[in-house]
Symmetry: C2
Amino acid sequence: MLKAVFFDIDDTLYDSTTLARRARLNSIRAMIDAGLEERDEARLYSLLQRIIKKFGSNYPRHYDELLNELGVPWNPKIVAAGVVAYEHTKFGYLKPFPGVVPTLIELRQRFRLGVISNGLAIKQWEKLINLSLHHFFDVVVTSEEVGCEKPSRRIFEVAVRRLGVASEECVMVGDRIATDVVGGKRAGMRTVWVRRGKYASSEPRSEEERPDAIIREIVELPEVLEKLSR
Amino acid sequence: MLKAVFFDIDDTLYDSTTLARRARLNSIRAMIDAGLEERDEARLYSLLQRIIKKFGSNYPRHYDELLNELGVPWNPKIVAAGVVAYEHTKFGYLKPFPGVVPTLIELRQRFRLGVISNGLAIKQWEKLINLSLHHFFDVVVTSEEVGCEKPSRRIFEVAVRRLGVASEECVMVGDRIATDVVGGKRAGMRTVWVRRGKYASSEPRSEEERPDAIIREIVELPEVLEKLSR
C-alpha cells in the first residue's frame, strides 16, 4: 500500500526554467538601463549563462562576475539593478504550476507528503514559502542538510526514515530521470516522471531509468497513484 | 550660488523606520506560522531588535540568531519564512515619501543631485532602484566605497569632488543632525534638516548642529533652496 508521496521542487511544482530565463533577461535589461555599455542582450545572456554554469546557481555574485568578464570596473548601480530586476521577476513567476494546489489538497487526504530536493535548505524553503506550499509537506529534505544529492540513496532514505514509512510504500515524483527516477528506484521507491520542461525530450535508456509512470501534469497524479496502489 | 543638492536615503527619501518595523513584525508572524513555538510577538520583536543592534542591520543571519537565542534548533523552514515575509513587506514599503518624485523632477532642472549615504553600496543602490529614484542622481557615494561614514568630512569631500563643484555650492539634506547636518557643515556645505521620523524630537545643541534650514517634508525644499541661494 502506498503511504507517502515525495516531490522534487524545481520544474516539478513550479516552472523554474521559465522563471530563471525571464529573471535573467530582465536583469540584463535593467543593467543596460543602469548604464552597462554593452547593449547586446543575446551576448550578455549567453555570457551570464556561462558564468552561472561556471560558478553554480547559488553563487551570490553573478553580476559582479559579468562586469568582470566584460572588463568593466565594478559598479554597484549596475549590479544592484540586476539583482533588483531578478528579485522582482522571481516573485512574479514563483507560482505553482496549474493544478498543483488542488492536487496536493486531494493527495493530503490519503497520503503523507514530502519534498526531496537538491539545493540549499534556506533557498529551497524560500521557494516553498513563496509558492505557499510549505504547509502541505510533513517533511522537506534538502541535499545541503543530508550532505549528498539525488540520485544518492541516502537522501531518499533520510526522507523515508523521517516519515517513519518503508521505501516500498513511497512514490517519488520529479522531472529528472537522472536524479528523481534513478534515485527513487535505487532507494526502493516507486517513481513518477513528470515529463515537462527542459528534460522532457530525454528518454529512459535502461531499466534503472524507467519510471513506473509518466505524466505531463501534476493533476494526473491521483489517477496514476490509484493504479500504482493496485 | 548653489549648484548641487545631496540627499541622505533612509528616512529622508523614504520611510525606512516604518519599513523596518512592519517587515520585522511580519517576519515574526511568518516564523510563528511556520512553527516557531514561542508565540509572544512582543517578546520576539524585542529580542530581534536586540539581535539587530548587536550584529548590525547588514548581518545576514538575524533569524538564525533568533532561534539560537531562543534555544531552538536551527530550522530552515522558520528562517526562510522570516526572510520571505521580510522581503515581501520590504517591497511593499519601498516607496518614496509623498512629494519626493515631483520635487526631484523640479530640482533636477536647476541643480545637480547626489546621494551621500552610510551603508553597503549594493544595498543602498538596491533601495534607490526599488524606489525608482536611481536615474535622478549624478553621483551616489556610500560609506562602504569611501571607507568612512558620515559625519566624516571625507565622504562629503569625495561626493563634491566627483561632481566637480565646490562645497560652498552644495546643500546636504537629511534626517539626522549627528550625521547629515554635522558632517555637511564640517565639509563646508549648507545643510537642511528634514525633521521627521525617529530623530524628529532631537534638538541642535551647538552651532555645529544647527542646520541652515529645517523642513518637515521634501516638498518644502525648492522654496528653502531659493532662500538659501540669496
